[in-house]
Every structure is written in C-alpha cells, then in structure tokens.
Subunit: 219 residues, 2 copies
C-alpha cells in the first residue's frame, strides 16, 4: 500500500516509515520542505542497506495524494498542516499519532486540546476524512532502529469502523506490533494523554517501555 | 501492615483487600455502614478457606485509623468520604484508586474532574496527607478471585516521594504485580483516564486485560 506520512521527517514519522517500508509498504515522507523530505528519505534508505525500503520524500501536498495518510507532525502544527489538504484527504483514512505534551522538569505532562485530543481536533477539521488515532505509545527512537525487535500492543480508535479496521491492519503489518480496536474517537483523549505517563516512566527509569495488554488474546 | 480501605465493600476495595490479605497484611474494610463492612469482610474470609485472611470491617471513621489508607469509593463519593476524616488521615499515605468514568453505550469514557484527576482532588482536600494514585488498571472482578494469577505493572504517582515509595512497596507485596513510580501527581489525570480505554477494550474484546510495560526491567 502507498502510505503518506505528513510531517514524516520528524522522529515519529521516520520511525514509522522505516517499519512500514520494512513490512513491504511504499512510504512517502511529507514535509513543508520537499527537498528536506527527499534527503531524509534517502538517508533512511541508505541507513539499512540490507533492506529494500521504498521510502521517498515529497511536499505535504504530494504526500496527501497517497492511499492512506498518517499525521505525524507535532501536535501544535497538526491543524495548520491538514487545513490546506482537506480536499486531498476527503474520504481517506487519516491516522493521527500526535500527542499534546509539555515538558516540565523531568516529566512530560499531557495537555488537553480544545476537542479533548489531537485526533478529535483533526476529525473536526476534516469532517469528510475517516480519522483514526494510533501509534502513540511507541518509543520513536527505537522504531527507527530496524535491528531493535518491537513487542507492543498498539491501541486504535476511530468513529469510523472502516478506519479502525484499516488502522489495525496497518499496525499488524509491522513485525512485533498488534493493533487493538479500543473504541470510538472519544478514547483518543486518554490514549494520547497516557503517552505522557509512558515517557515519564521512560525518563525516570531509563527504559524504552511499550504497552502490552496482559490477558488479551483473541482466538 | 494494617491497611484501611475506605469504601472497601465495593468491587475495587474487595479485590484489593483479598490480595493484600493474601500477602499477609491486616486489612480493615471501611464503609458508611459498619455492619455491612463486617459482613462483607466475613464473606471474603469465608470465600477462601485455604487462606488465612485478616480482613475485618468497620465504619470509615475507624478504618481511617489504620497505618496506610486506600480510597476505594466511587469517584463521585470520594470528597464527601474523606472530608470528615481529614484529621485521622493527616500525615498518612492515602492511595487513591478511583477513576471518574461514565458509561456510554458499549464504552466507558473518562471524565475530567475539576483538578484533573480524582487523586489531585483528594490531595487538595487533604493537604496534610500524602496522596498517591495507584491500582487503577486492574480488573476488579479478577482481583477478588485469588485463584486467578495476576500479571501486571501498576503505575504509581504522587507529589510525595515517601508516598510513592510506600505505594510501590504495597503493590510489590501482591503476587504478580509490580509497582512502577510514574512521577508526580500530575500524571494521575492520564493514568485515571486510561482506565476508560482498558475497560472499553475489555468490553469490546471480552477480555480482562491488564497493562504490562514491555522493555521495562530495572536491575
């Protein structure tokens, strides 16, 4: 599948791009600066010569032409990024992975966006897109290292069943990750905010912890 | 240790009482109705004849005389419960385990208490107590069944290092649980809210999922 990652040159976008490309997807990193996107994409491909990674770079506008879109800009740039792209994104699944966080001393704290979550804010901005929220709790730095095995449960929520399904399937394509449908987009507020707790645990205990749901196994 | 569980006759309190008593602690279930507390306590002791469980029942007032206090009332009764007990609770560790949740269809949604979390609301109400937040993500129904093995990481946060330490130690005494210091009481908002996501996952997928932090191991 051809996947566009808006704001794909940041740590979250790069990490996801590498894992999706390793799973066989074609990934377009989007950026306000198409040249920077192209150079970041080339850097990722070169970094893993043992893999054939189909990662290219483009402007956010071209990136938005992909089949499925991931929003990986920082939370405070999310609305400004999607606003001019609303037409390209209409009818498509748009996966929101940003968290509204602020650093305070040795902790990260969750902020409450006006609609409760970044994802709900995007859905309000893109009423004809199928917004889902996912990929919040994964340590970006580890994602980018293809040599680090991942083992995590990845929560997915959306108001659109087809977006939840497509996003769970997207997560499942990545080695070691399991997508879990966690309900409506109302859950995004708590899912995003919980990222602050995980990062704080990681800082305090010098770990790269990811979430697993014990006792969760579907036949 | 002698532990008082305010509102201990509810599912959360009963589950925790059984596990702590099985770990060798002396537990006092508190309730507005001391007789009901005594009868619930007797019921728990009788339910597990192979264990010697030191669980008794008392009024919330007597319960508050214990060394360490757990607040297990429903979230909307928390302030009214502790207000008259402030003097007994002064200087003590008070562990808040309530979550402000509301059911909507087949989901639970997190509400935002005026101070961000139930725990922060209790700390504001009890300025001379050492409030911590913990035990939010454990399935109450499973806690009460001593025959069900538990395997979960339990997040703890507080503004008082000694309360975090005492609460992590309390969690660690329960077989299968590991306490993890997750920072200041500011984290309670996200920890409490995340309970809504877990319960929703449990409902949707018919599981009793608990949180484990993969990649977290301290030497």
């Amino acid at each position: 599948m051809r996947i566009g990652i808006l704001g794909g040159t940041g740590p979250a976008g790069r990490g996801l791009a590498v894992r999706l490309a390793a799973a066989g997807d074609e990934v377009v990193l989007g950026s306000r600066d198409a040249e920077r996107a192209a150079s970041e994409a080339a850097g990722l491909v070169e970094a893993w010569p043992d893999h054939t990674l189909a990662i290219s770079g483009a402007s956010n506008g071209e990136c938005a032409a992909a089949e499925l879109i991931v929003m990986a800009t920082p939370w405070n740039g999310a609305v400004a990024t999607v606003k001019p792209l609303a037409d390209s994104l209409a009818g498509k699944v748009v996966v929101s992975m940003a968290n509204a966080l602020v650093k305070e001393g040795r902790e990260f704290l969750a902020l409450m966006p006006p609609r409760g979550s970044v994802a709900a804010t995007l859905q309000a901005e893109l009423p004809t897109s199928l917004v889902s929220a996912s990929f919040h709790h994964l340590p970006a730095s580890e994602m980018e290292k293809l040599t680090t095995p991942m083992s995590a449960d990845v929560l997915v929520c959306s108001d659109h069943p087809e977006a939840s399904e497509a996003t769970v399937a997207l997560v499942d394509r990545i080695d070691g990750l399991r997508g879990i449908d966690a309900g409506s987009l109302s859950q995004a507020a708590a899912i995003e905010a919980f990222t602050a707790v995980l990062i704080t645990v990681n800082i305090r205990h010098k770990v790269h912890a990811a979430v697993q749901l014990a006792g969760f196994s579907e036949v």
